[in-house]
Symmetry: C2
Subunit: 224 residues, 2 copies
DNA sequence: CTTGACATGGAACAAATGTTCGGATAAGAT
DNA sequence: ATCTTATCCGAACATTTGTTCCATGTCAAG
């Protein structure tokens, strides 16, 4: 009498399933169903998939969300390379130039730039400015660069800050060092000499978190 | 005889549905089902949702993938702000410093950095280097900066390139201008004077696509 | 060889999910 | 008021999807 040949045990099937889920997500931007895994890996029964999914969950490699369809989630991605990542929208407020005060942080954004969450310590309350002109070149920031700023009236010693100099009506980027009666504004460029000004002249607008420079013709903030 | 009060027509329900889908995706990292939309927006029947989804598809605002569960896709996101985006992995090859040649582009990566796809013209064949020291400061690139490079032996006039100077055994970043017999290497810093060298001395390693500087203590390439 | 942990197969069930249909209603246009 | 279009509603239906159960098989270790 004819007996169906049972297929050989695939001892690394759980790894295959993990890889399949990642592959499927990359392509479809959604997670596969049990039966999609079954068909994709030529598994004979959904129960086999269910069995391995349960084991994977016990091993802490995946999460499952109740009984919802497509409720599988990868805990860690193979190679640590998640295909997508949270992007935090940051308002783009406009230009920053030597002779002009920066736009007010609460102003209506001219556009948005999105930064991967993992690039920032915490995503609250940032904004982006585009540098105009070469006046901040001693901060190693050139024309067209984009800077990400956290608005704050105080920074730690040595941090790069957006500074408004009341007496000169000028915006600049400098490293700030507090001294007794005065404040030392030090350029990032090591051969440039520092500037010493009275404390009451300095108005700190925010702390520079990041500098982005694109040389391939793509301008980052998606103006709309 | 008692008649159930029919709710008022919500003339902007389709917009509500669009916003709901975006919100749901942001939170759950997956698309909602018809009935999840129904419950979330307190709609009386799944047929109402189905009706509006059909209309949204006709208007080209969403796509639907067959009859699969969670087969709704947003064509455009409200405000153009997709919560996630493709991140392209770029190999991090190591340091770049004045006295050293850069690592070979095919070398084993020391880590990976992920860049949003929209920040790059095309994602093929890039690598990342971390700048060591202040030797490239006249290119407005400082110690610790990360540069994204496309390896190529040729660049257009005026483009920023990674250059190996054979005679000095030195790596540098300069804007390259071809002249008759010689090549002009111009610093990004406008007050620095250009360097003229014979063409055979210059070996172009690649074109600088992007410069990233993080001042908040997070180092971008996730070394593993 | 025997044993036991682990993996597979098939079927059925229950729940979730997408769809269809006819009729009713709301609201703007004429 | 009448007409017309768009919308809403409830129910039922057809698939899809997750799950369970039990029998059976594989294979490495002892």
């Amino acid at each position: 009498m004819k007996r169906k040949q049972r297929s050989r045990i695939r001892w690394n099937l759980r790894q295959e399933i993990l890889a399949f889920i990642a592959r499927w997500y990359r392509q479809e931007r959604t997670y596969p169903t049990v039966r999609e895994i079954q068909r994709g890996l030529k598994i004979s029964s959904p129960s086999v998939v269910a069995y391995h999914l349960r084991r994977l969950e016990e091993e802490g490699l995946i999460d499952r969300i109740g009984r919802r369809s497509r409720g599988i989630r990868l805990r860690r991605w193979p190679d640590g390379l998640a295909p997508e990542e949270d992007m935090i929208p940051i308002p783009f407020l406009g230009p920053i130039a030597a002779g002009e005060p920066i736009p007010h942080p609460d102003a209506e954004p001219l556009g948005w730039i999105r930064i991967p969450r993992s690039w920032l310590a915490d995503g609250d309350d940032l904004f982006a400015l585009r540098v105009q002109g070469n006046s901040m070149i001693d901060a190693l920031v050139g024309d067209g660069d984009l800077i990400i700023v956290r608005p704050t009236p105080e920074v730690e010693d040595g941090e790069m800050a957006v500074v408004w100099l009341r007496d000169r009506h000028e915006t600049t980027l400098k490293r700030v060092y507090r001294e007794k009666e005065r404040i030392c504004l030090r350029p990032a460029h090591p051969i440039m000499s520092p500037l010493y000004v009275p404390a009451e002249v300095v108005q700190i607008q925010g702390k520079v978190i990041q500098v982005l420079r694109n040389l391939n013709g793509i301008s980052l903030p998606a103006e709309r």
